[in-house]
């Protein structure tokens, strides 16, 4: 048994009545510490765990050696040895996240929701970077909801002006700082973060709305659209709200309707009085062999609903004429003309001009096709209507002999899909629609040609100030379809 001196560090002196040294007896360090614990209740627990091991926030030294590098607690002690209890001294500036945040805060100004609304009125863009499920609970009025995941990839399409002030908002004001920093690094000059995020925005009574969002099923189905900034959630919702009327569920209408349904256009109207014939199946892909003899609109509907049950299909098993054209067209955003006869083509044109609806035109003949958008009301460019180009149908003796013309089965697929693309562009308001242009496709040469089309300033239907001359029910010139 040896008598040793134990050095007590300041933080543990509350257990020794302030004494900085205690003399105790023992043979090993373990004995010494336990003797110390017996003499001064509470001290041992701070140094040793209940399992009798040294706690890792203290070190015990024998002389100038850490007992961990000797025999640990079993290290023998000699008379007049000095045993020191050395508290671990540690800490840090907090998590890496906190350090990063502190750094970001020094470069990103923070503003209150009230200030954000003021700046928004002055032209600043409010960016809501929360997830879709959070946004579904509410989001500032007029905010851009870009999400966080693709923010850097999408921001330039939403806010092309690097000098425009950007106010970033999340739910509590932390994520928005990180997002603001990322945006700033892209080159935006004035990026600020909204303190307290949406929870404070709401508490402070600033204006918000509960935006419509896609459900989980739609989110999955249209995920490839959502990845594109030109469409995104807002664009997809626009498509879902859109109504496209297809004239004909035949060669052109089949591929167009099929893809428009897949793309999520919410309402598709089909006008066709025909029934499915075996000779249609060479190109009219909405129909099936089993449905030969049944109405085309019903057959088309079955196929479209099987592909996308969310699409509403409106059947018009009828022939378009002057008495029903306006009633059928009303409420539709875009008409896709896949009709195969002149009387219908003129009715479609005249009704579209009168109602201001864009008319996506397509036609096919053997190995050639053509596509255009007749939309005199288009704001960005003045193009012609169909009558500007062909004021009247050709006389009966000059009409093509459709029955003998024939068409490559795949060709209406190409042209119908180009029509569908134009329809989608118009619905989303993206790109350049084929207004004032006619695109010709020559399949044998694999060649596209684009021709400029001029409006007729004297056109009785679409010219400035023209009084609508009325619908004309032309005589059927050719009874057999070429599409």
């Amino acid at each position: 048994m040896s008598t040793v001196t134990v050095r007590i560090p300041t933080p543990l002196r509350s257990f020794t009545d302030g004494a900085d040294e205690i003399r105790v007896e023992g043979t090993t360090v373990d004995d010494v510490l336990k003797a110390l614990g017996t003499a001064h209740a509470g001290l041992l627990e701070r140094v040793m765990s209940p399992r009798g091991e040294l706690r890792n926030f203290v070190n015990v030294y024998l002389g100038s050696d850490n007992v961990r590098s000797l025999d640990g607690l079993a290290t023998p002690v000699a008379d007049n040895d000095v045993v020191s209890i050395v508290p671990a001294v540690a800490g840090g500036a907090g998590k890496a996240k906190d350090r990063r945040l502190a750094k970001i805060k020094s470069s990103i100004p923070e503003i209150t929701p009230v200030q954000a609304v003021e700046l928004q009125h002055e032209g600043a863009a409010v960016l809501d970077v929360r997830e879709a499920d959070e946004i579904s609970q509410g989001s500032p009025v007029g905010a851009y909801r870009l999400g966080r995941a693709y923010l850097e990839l999408r921001i330039e399409d939403t806010v092309p002006d690097m000098d425009r002030t950007i106010l970033v908002m999340c739910s509590g004001g932390v994520r928005s700082l990180f997002a603001a920093d990322a945006i700033k690094q892209l080159g935006y000059r004035d990026v600020r973060s909204v303190i307290g995020g949406f929870s404070r925005w709401k508490n402070d009574g600033q204006p918000f709305e509960v935006p419509r969002v896609l459900d989980a099923d739609a989110r999955e189905r249209y995920s490839r659209h959502l990845l594109m900034p030109e469409i995104g959630e807002a664009g997809q919702l626009k498509l879902i709200d859109s109504k496209v009327l297809l004239l004909g569920a035949g060669g052109l209408g089949s591929p167009a309707a099929f893809y428009l349904a897949a793309a999520g256009v919410g309402t598709l109207g089909l006008v066709d009085d025909d029934i499915v014939d075996r000779s249609n199946l060479q190109r009219q892909i909405l129909h099936t062999d089993a449905r030969i003899g049944t109405p085309k609109v019903a057959s088309a509907r079955a196929t479209l609903e099987a592909l996308n049950p969310a699409v509403k299909v409106i059947e018009h098993q009828t022939r378009l004429d002057s008495s029903n054209v306006e009633e059928i067209f009303s409420g539709f955003d875009v008409i896709v003309d896949g009709s195969d006869n002149f009387p219908t083509r003129y009715l479609v044109n005249d009704a579209c001009v009168k109602l201001g609806i864009p008319n996506v035109h397509g036609a096919v003949y053997r190995f050639e096709g053509q596509i255009s958008v007749f939309w005199p009301a288009y704001e960005k460019r003045r193009g012609p209507c169909y009558r500007c180009l062909y004021p009247e149908p050709p006389p009966a003796e000059m009409a093509p002999s459709c029955a003998e013309a024939g068409v490559l089965g795949i060709l209406p697929g190409v042209v119908g899909l180009l029509e569908a693309v134009e329809a989608i562009k118009i619905l989303l308001g993206i790109g350049e629609p084929l207004v004032g242009k006619m695109l010709y496709y020559d399949a044998l040469r694999a060649h596209f040609t684009e021709l400029k089309l001029e409006p007729d300033p004297e056109c009785p239907y679409c010219s400035e100030g023209a009084q609508f001359p009325g619908y004309v029910d032309y005589e059927e010139l050719c009874a057999v379809s070429n599409a």
Binding site: L12, R13, V89, A90, G91, G92, A93, K95, A102
Partner: protein, 141 residues
């Protein structure tokens, strides 16, 4: 409010050490006396940070340095009265990491340092698991 008196030259010494250590955390001990809620710092000592992997946001003082400082302090009739460390690019407030590792009975001086030098210097004391700020009195030597 408790007070911690700090000689002006010791403060200047701290400023130099944390600036030279930037962007890494620097740490050390406060040597002096304490009684009746008053802490009187006499000297500040720098110690090695043995946390090498995360030296930019963690410190762990070399226990051997502690022992040496303690021995020297005792010889001068003083004691270790606290710990100082820097928070590079971070406020001079104790982090959760600091709180968990802190001991009652010591003062914790935290120096916020940026590329441009010392931004803030404050002292804290643990009281029933919570840090309470103490007033720093700068005194000429």
């Amino acid at each position: 409010m408790r007070t911690l008196s700090l000689p002006e030259d010791a403060r200047a010494e701290l400023a130099t050490m944390v600036r030279e250590g930037y962007p890494l955390e620097t740490c050390g001990l406060l040597v002096g006396r304490q009684a009746n809620g008053q802490v009187e710092v006499q000297t500040v000592v720098q110690s090695r940070n043995i946390n090498r992997e995360r030296a930019e946001d963690r410190y762990e003082l070399d226990p051997h340095d502690f022992l040496v400082t303690d021995k020297r302090a005792r010889a001068d009739g003083l004691e270790i009265v606290g710990v100082w460390h820097s928070h590079p690019d971070h406020p001079a407030r104790p982090s959760e990491t600091d709180r968990v590792a802190a001991w009652e009975g010591w003062s914790y001086v935290i120096i916020s340092v940026t590329r441009d030098g010392v931004a803030d210097l404050r002292s804290w004391r643990l009281d029933s698991e919570q840090f309470v700020e103490e007033q720093i009195q700068l005194c000429p030597r």
